[in-house]
């Protein structure tokens, strides 16, 4: 019955006990809505047929309601609605009361990606891994505008407010992969701000965390942070970093490998990129300089033409310094971004 209703209403799979409870209410609410709507409609249609105008001189009686009619008109729907509320409100309240033993995950929305951080590491982008059958509390925030963290399969959603935290929690009980959407309009990339929730059995999750922490440690021993500017010509690079910050480049280009409004600068130098229209280009000094002067000329596929020209806004030495800074941003291995964990077959969705 649950499965039939779920498919009829095109609801996504139910990955938690909470989702199943909410769906129970959903089925009840939709059924009463349907019955009421079609009840009213059937009555109306019956009246249309039964009392259709037979001649232009038809006479109609005066019909006034009795108190009982109006009492029923008010009482029946009100009782139903209050019943809905009485079921729905406790469910909503339960979402705001995470159990004390819940594992905390920090969620940060940013145009247009999701970052997840576990206490003690690791961090990940766009992929949230959680253990099955264990309560997980999400502490959600945003770097820029309001986003909304939405997992349809869990029936949960919570806005990410810039500068402050909101919370929600869930206990996923079905290992698998589920979609994460941004549900609050946040600009150009709103509809591509997608993420993935990976629910894994506790043991595999523990293995994954241990593996990730080892990697981070190794990277730290390799050379400090994951992103370590190659030194040399340090003065120019520092100058480039300063100019980039002043000119606001870093508002759209990240230096940690993450995707933002524009392509990241990490490992950008000499990278091959596919342009809009299919051409390929190598990001050498010439391309980087041209991109600052005439950004619209060669747009990398998948990005919007939103960058203003810096022609006349920076002196040639400043441009050169930025290019040197970009050249300095090279990593032995880029460590950010989702790391591959065990792969689960997602439960097949209907077509």
């Amino acid at each position: 019955m649950n499965e039939l209703m779920r498919r009829m209403l095109w609801l996504p799979e139910q990955a938690s006990e909470y989702a199943r409870r909410v769906d129970g209410l959903h089925f009840f609410v939709i059924s009463t809505t349907m019955i009421a709507a079609f009840g009213v409609f059937a009555t109306a249609i019956w009246f249309f047929v039964r009392y259709r105008r037979r001649s232009d001189s038809d006479v109609t009686p005066v019909v006034h309601p009795r108190a009982i009619h109006e009492a029923l008109f008010i009482g029946v729907p009100l009782a139903l609605f209050l019943l809905w509320f009485a079921i729905g409100f406790p469910q909503y309240v339960s979402l705001t009361l995470p159990p004390p033993d819940a594992q905390d995950v920090f969620v940060q929305g940013k145009k247009w990606m999701w970052k997840f951080a576990y206490a003690g590491g690791p961090n990940s982008v766009d992929t949230l891994r959680v253990p099955a059958d264990r309560p997980v509390r999400l502490l959600i925030t945003s770097r820029d505008v309001i986003h909304s963290f939405y997992v349809p399969a869990l029936r949960i959603k919570m806005d990410a407010l810039p500068g402050r935290y909101t919370q929600t929690w869930f206990t996923a009980d079905r290992p698998g992969r589920y979609e994460i959407f941004c549900a609050e309009y946040c600009g150009l990339g709103h509809s591509s701000m997608l993420g993935e929730l990976v629910v894994m059995p506790q043991a595999e999750f523990d293995d994954w965390v241990a593996e990730q922490r080892r990697n981070v440690l190794a990277a730290a021993q390799d050379g400090g942070a994951a992103v370590q500017p190659v030194l040399g010509r340090a003065g120019v690079v520092d100058e480039g970093r300063r100019v980039a910050a002043e000119q606001g480049c870093l508002k759209c280009h990240s230096v940690d490998g993450s995707r933002h409004l524009g392509p990241t600068w990490t490992d950008l130098y000499l990278r091959q990129s596919k342009l809009k229209g299919g051409k390929t280009v190598v990001a050498d000094e010439g391309y980087l300089t041209k991109s600052m002067m005439d950004p619209a000329a060669d747009i990398v596929d998948g990005y919007q033409n939103v960058m203003p020209t810096y022609q006349g806004r920076m002196s040639p030495p400043e441009v050169a310094a930025i290019v040197e800074y970009i050249k300095s941003l090279r990593t032995p291995a880029v460590r950010s971004g989702p790391t591959e964990g065990p792969v689960y077959e997602s439960i097949p969705r209907k077509q």
């Binding site: 961090n123 925030t141 935290y165």
Partner: protein
């Protein structure tokens, strides 16, 4: 004065304005308002503890406002709809203020602005360094 076409109307308007002056009433209200202003001024200088200063100040303000509305603005001797309009608007003001402040007072504390003393961090709350306190501008 013969042939008065709007007897009913003038009876009403006349009752209010023509037959007797309200001057005495205005003076009494003015004195009351000045006295209340003095009281609220002194009360503020005393620096009452806690939230009492606001409560006292607002109570006196409401009393003064009522005097102005009733006598200077003649709600005392005006028709029902006008009174209803004004009272209704005040009800909605109270509604808007009450429910927005109630929201801030009872929400998840960290959902309040981080600079506010009301945004109490729970013990053991340790966000990652790129947490919400830093904002991209």
């Amino acid at each position: 004065m013969a042939g008065h076409p709007q007897d009913a109307g003038h009876a009403h308007a006349g009752r209010e304005h023509v037959h007797h002056s309200h001057f005495g009433r205005y003076v009494a209200v003015l004195i009351a308002l000045l006295v209340l202003t003095a009281i609220t001024y002194v009360a503020a200088k005393v620096h009452l503890p806690g939230g009492w200063a606001v409560v006292v100040a607002l109570t006196i303000a409401i009393a003064k406002g009522t005097l102005v509305a009733l006598f200077f603005m003649h709600l005392w001797d005006q028709r029902g709809p006008n009174r209803l309009v004004f009272v209704t608007s005040l009800v909605f003001v109270a509604l808007l203020i009450g429910l927005t402040v109630a929201d801030n007072a009872t929400r998840f504390p960290l959902a309040n602005p981080p600079g506010s003393p009301r945004a109490v961090k729970p013990p053991g709350f340790a966000p990652p360094p790129e947490g919400g306190d830093r904002l991209v501008r």
